[in-house]
Each structure stands twice: as structure tokens, then as C-alpha cells.
């Protein structure tokens, strides 16, 4: 029985609890023994992205401590948090030190949810049913830092009843970017508006993404635009058992 540890991430914890619960149900249905290290907090990405490298180190150490207790893979339904752990943790510690070795170990077994499903568990069909026209927004970190592109499409194509429509400028940023939104709200919003315009033009009734941050931004944008298009996380879509009409 494969084991895994759940990394809940800040946004997931705060805004997308239901999504996290779906991760749990889904992975357990697939026979994964999922655990939840209770000492986990933030991965330190906000600090790191804003140039506070020294301050990131203790937060990263805390994360590593929490997850190093088990040697099971670490799963999170968020590309940017995974990317932080995967790509930047080793750079935080001096090479040759035990802390660095530990960081490399942790980073090597941290996976994004869809990445874990498709590339580790080799599951491409989770038995989901979702009879809707769906379009996909590729998140920046998920796509570019983790290099995940086909995984999510494979999963979506295997959802029963789902019709995947291409989003114009699919890989263009939605403008969220964490602290970027706070510092540059107007730039961020104009990027979001462009994204929402494309989503509406796609004629889909659902937009799916793998990133809670993008989801927050896009869902808010769609809501502001008075659109009835649903913005949901890939996990929630894959957990769907909606009956075929």
C-alpha cells in the first residue's frame, strides 16, 4: 500500500478545506495511506519570493522537520508550494551540510497532486463523472517551474462526460502571483480581466486549475463579471460523481 503525506498549504488550509478533504478521499479510494503531519505550517514561499532568504530558512527547517519523520512522498494540491519545496529548498542550505542533504531528500519526494497521480501512481482515470464543458487554465508555477503540462489534460480527458475546450492564451498568467497582487493590484487586475475575458469567450461552463491562488483570483474575477462560470480546483472536479444527464 503506497504511503503519502499530505501538505495542506496555507491557501488550501484557509480557503479550500473541502478540496483538501477531497484529496484525502480520492487518494484513499486509490489505496494510498495518507497521513497528515500536524507540525506543518507554511512552506515559506511568501518570505522567499519577497527576498527574505534568511527568514525563509527557519520556516523551511520547520517544514522539513515536520515531513522528515516519514519517508513517504509529500503531496500538495498546489503547484507553487510544491515548486518552492522542490526547487528552492536545497538552495537555502549550504551544500555539504546535513540540512542541505535533508532538504534535497525532501525536495526529491515532494509532488504536486496530479503529478503524483499520473507519474507516481500511474493512475490516469480516477472514475470521475463530470458532464460539462470544461476549460483549463495553466498556472505559472505548475506549468513552468514544475513543467507539468500533459498530466492534467490526461486526467481531464479520462473524466466521463467531460468536454475539454481549449482556452485562448491558456498559459498566460492570471495575474495573481501572491504578494504581487497586493503590491500591484491594478496590473494584477488587468491581467485577471484578460484571463476572465478569455474564459468567458471559451464558452465553457467550468474553468479548472491546479492552483488555489489562481482559483481565488479567477473565481473572484468571474464573480465580478457576473458570469455563472464555475471556477474549481482539479481535485474537486476529479472527485465529482455527477450523474450523466
Amino acid at each position: 500500500m503506497p504511503k503519502a503525506q499530505l501538505f495542506i498549504t496555507c491557501l488550501g488550509d484557509q480557503f479550500y478545506t473541502a478540496t483538501l478533504q477531497n484529496v484525502t478521499h480520492l487518494l484513499e479510494r486509490l489505496g494510498v495511506e495518507l497521513t497528515f503531519p500536524h507540525d506543518q505550517t507554511c512552506c515559506g514561499q511568501p518570505l522567499f519570493n519577497n527576498g527574505f532568504e534568511d527568514k525563509t530558512r527557519p520556516v523551511a527547517s520547520n517544514f522539513i522537520r515536520a515531513f522528515a519523520k516519514s519517508d513517504a512522498p509529500i503531496i500538495a494540491p498546489s503547484g507553487s508550494c510544491v515548486s518552492m519545496v522542490k526547487h528552492h529548498y536545497p538552495s537555502l542550505f549550504k551544500e555539504g551540510t546535513p540540512a542541505h542533504a535533508l532538504a534535497v531528500d525532501i525536495s526529491s519526494r515532494t509532488f504536486e497532486f496530479t503529478e503524483y497521480l499520473v507519474n507516481v501512481l500511474k493512475v490516469t482515470d480516477v472514475g470521475a463523472v463530470y458532464p460539462h464543458k470544461v476549460t483549463y487554465h495553466a498556472s505559472c508555477h505548475y506549468l513552468r517551474e514544475l513543467g507539468l503540462k500533459t498530466e492534467v489534460k490526461t486526467l481531464l480527458n479520462n473524466v466521463q462526460g467531460l468536454e475539454l475546450v481549449q482556452l485562448n492564451e491558456e498559459e498566460t498568467c492570471c495575474g495573481f502571483g501572491g504578494a504581487f497582487t497586493v503590491t500591484y493590484p491594478e496590473v494584477s487586475r488587468s491581467m485577471m480581466e484578460n484571463k476572465v475575458k478569455n474564459i468567458i469567450a471559451s464558452d465553457a461552463d467550468t474553468v479548472v486549475t491546479c492552483e488555489p491562488g489562481c482559483l481565488m483570483n479567477v473565481a473572484g474575477g468571474l464573480h465580478k463579471a457576473g458570469s455563472s462560470i464555475r471556477a474549481i480546483h482539479i481535485v474537486d472536479l476529479l472527485s465529482s460523481k455527477e450523474e450523466l444527464a
Partner: protein, 504 residues
Amino acid sequence: MSQDTHPYIGFEKYSEHVPPSIPLAVQQATSRFVGGRAARVAELPQWEQLRQLGSDIRQHTIENMDVYLTRLEEKVVASGGHVHWVETAEEARRIVLQIAQENNVKHVVKSKSMATEEIDLNHALGAAGIESLETDLGEYIIQLAGTGPSHIIVPAVHLKKEEIAVLFSEKLDINAQTDPIELARIAREVLREKFLNADMGISGGNFLIAETGTLVMVTNEGNGRMCTTMPELHVAVVGIDKVIPDWESLTVFLKLLARSATGQKLSTYTQFITGPRRADGEFGPKEFHLVLLDNGRSKILKDPIGRDVLKLFAAVPVRMFAPCIKTWAALRMAHLSRVPSGRSFRRKCLAHKLPANCRLLPRSAVRVPMFALSRFQSQQFSVTFAAVLRKAMRLRCQLFQFPFERPQILHPLHLPKTGFTDWVRVCCRSSIHSSAKIIGYQICLIRLIGGQRFDRFHHLVRDSENGGICALPKKRNLPDDQPCDRQHSPFFRAHRSISSEPAS
């Protein structure tokens, strides 16, 4: 001005003045770059190899820069040109002014050049009573309007054709129609007259070929060719990083450049200038001066990562930083370059207060190492978009790691440092994390909802009124849906008892 005097530009305080209509219009206007690059790249199956080859050539040139620059000087002088080595921007301005004054120059025509923007040449010329006219159509329009560019690729993109017609009518004392072709005709007529009467042409350069001492310029409007052939005097201000070994290397860069920058196979004009005209009756200027600009570049060469960044900037269009930016725009994942906001890095914009409708592209951290390693603009850009850049850049380079490996050169970000310190404390102790973070998020949310600037996040609060801060739309038909509950801990605590957690 020494590189240490480059001021920190707080883009965030300018970005709030962007009229809502402009960013979207610009994004739409520039979206044609998006498909263009992808299509051109797809035509070349060896694209990635070409990028690597370009990168290798740059690496080699940078490592042997002294050799190539010396060779370049020899060849330029042998072909009858003059070479001026300048270390600082101030020195560069002085040299150009000196050349102009010695030749009694009154009117200058300029082709678009980032090197001259970098040294703020127009103001120096203006102060000396010399008229300096930008001849790129977009640049001409904004110079006429007396404002700065709103976008790095398309400087006048924020102006509608109606506005341009009004501008032309006012400034040129004619009755201009709003027809774009007509407007272009008017500009062409005015500019043609200026080209014929100019005493001196100033340009930048895309490449300097050491093998033959040739200056290479790629342009689309043809104004660059007019600037460098009509007047009797041609001064090219080019960064030392533009040198390449030979013509064979050039073929690699020319394949990459236009495809990356504008989605063209080749720019409309590719000019090769080797010295001044050799005999009366030949075309071209009587005198050719090449101003080789250092202005901090050699300092960057000493830094291994900085060197890599320089590599990126080395093979770029006339606008010095345009390649990455243009590539942003060109690539489908490009975004920032398509949103005008903040301010341009251009010196002239720093010197002038810009009207509210002319906010400029916020420049990423990328440009800054070029000017001063010690003054990063904002890491948010670099981190958020570095990965985009890495893929999009014409040449492969380590730019991506740059901000991470040089954290000390970053400007402390504009978010309160104290908040970060508290966050570290909270995150390091899981016992207080659970409760503290909830308060933290509430505070963040209150800040986020504090104004219309963040109105797209209002729905998060709306949901919170009904028991839980949750961004998920309420009416979801997902069977496994559970009520939004921000108290994750009980769920996971309960869950933990089911799935055995390893001993902690």
C-alpha cells in the same frame, strides 16, 4: 552619471493611476505577438539547439571580450571610422556633444536606441540647444506629445488614432484625418524633411562584428537606415556587450532575434555599416563614430551569474532590454509586457512627471543587474516571472537563479518587514500556527478588502459571513461536497486517528 545613482523606482505607487481601459486595450493590441513567435519557432525544429549555440557564442565572446573589442576597434579604424571608449554615461554624453559641437550640428535625427536612453542623450542634446528628433513612428508621436512611452515594444500604443489625429493637428498645424494610413503619410512627410536637413544621425546597434568592424542594425520602419545614411555624420552609441566574433555567428543571432522579438522571420531591414563612405558619390555619411559604452557592463562581467545575464542582453535589438521583454510579449505566456503600468526604466521618464494616462511597463528585476548589481527593482517580478523568462529568452541563461543567488542585492520589498518577522515566528511553532494564522488571514483579508483595488477578493469575505472564509462557489453539484469549514484541524485531527500518522 555613475551606475550607483540609479534611483529605486517604486512602481507600485504609479500603478494605481492606470486607467482601467488602457491595460486591457494594450493586452489586446499586443496579443498578435503571442501567436507570432510560437508559429515562427515551430518552423525551426532546431530552435533549442540554436538558442544553445547562441548562448555558447555569447559565452565565448564574453570570456574573450578584450580580444574581440580590440579587433573591432582595429577594423573600424581601418575602415575610416572613429572609436571612442567611454566608461560612464556622463562621459558618453560629453563625447557625443563634443562631436556635435565640433561639427556645428543643429539638428539630429535619432533611431530608436536603448543605449542612448540609458545615457539620457536627448536631454543632454536639448540642453545644448541641439534639436534631437526621434524618428521611429511611435517614438515620434510620443515625443510630439511630450510624454513618455507607455509600452516597451509599442511606445504609443495607449493613444487612439483619434488622439493622434488631434495631436498632429495641434502640433503640426494641419487638419489631420483619423485614417491611420493618412496619419502615417503625414509623419512620413514631416520626417522626410527632417532626414534631409539633419546634420547628424544617432543610432544604437544590435551587433558589432569584430571580424570586419561592422555595425549591424535590425529595424522595421526604415528610419534607422535614413538616420545612418542621410546626414553627413553618424554616431552610433553601442554597449560593449554587443560585440560578436564574426559573420558566421551573426547568422545564428539573426535567426533567433526577429523570431523571438516580433514573431518575424527577419526584420524588414538588416543594415551592415562598415565605416563611413569611402569616396564621394558613394552613399553614407562622411564621418562615422562608434561610441563603445561600458557604463557598468565590465563590472557585471566579473560576476559569474551577472555574466550570464549580460549574455542575455548581449544579443538584443536596438532597444537594449527589449529582447526579454519582447520575448515576453511574443510568447504566449507573456503577460507583464502586455500590461502598461508603473514606469518605464527610461531615463527620460525618470526625469519627467508623466501624465496619468501614460503609465509604463513595470520593468522586471532583469534590467537592473545591467545598471547596478546593488539595486534590484523588485523581486516579485523576478521570482514570479523568472520562470517565464527562462523559457522565453532568446538565449539560454541562468537568469532564473539570479535573484536567488544574490539575495543581498535585492531591494527590501515594499511589504512591512515586521509582518514577515512575525510570520516566521508563527510558522516555526505549529502550536501557535493554527490559531495565529487564522487571525493573520483575517487581517490580510481586511487589508485586501480595504478598497476597490481588491474588489475581486470581496467574495471571500461574503462567504465568510455565512460560516467560513471560502472562495468556492456555494452551489456546487459535487456529491462529495462538504460545507466550507475553515477549521480544518478537527477534520484532519479526526482523520489522523483513522490513518495512522508515524510517531512524531
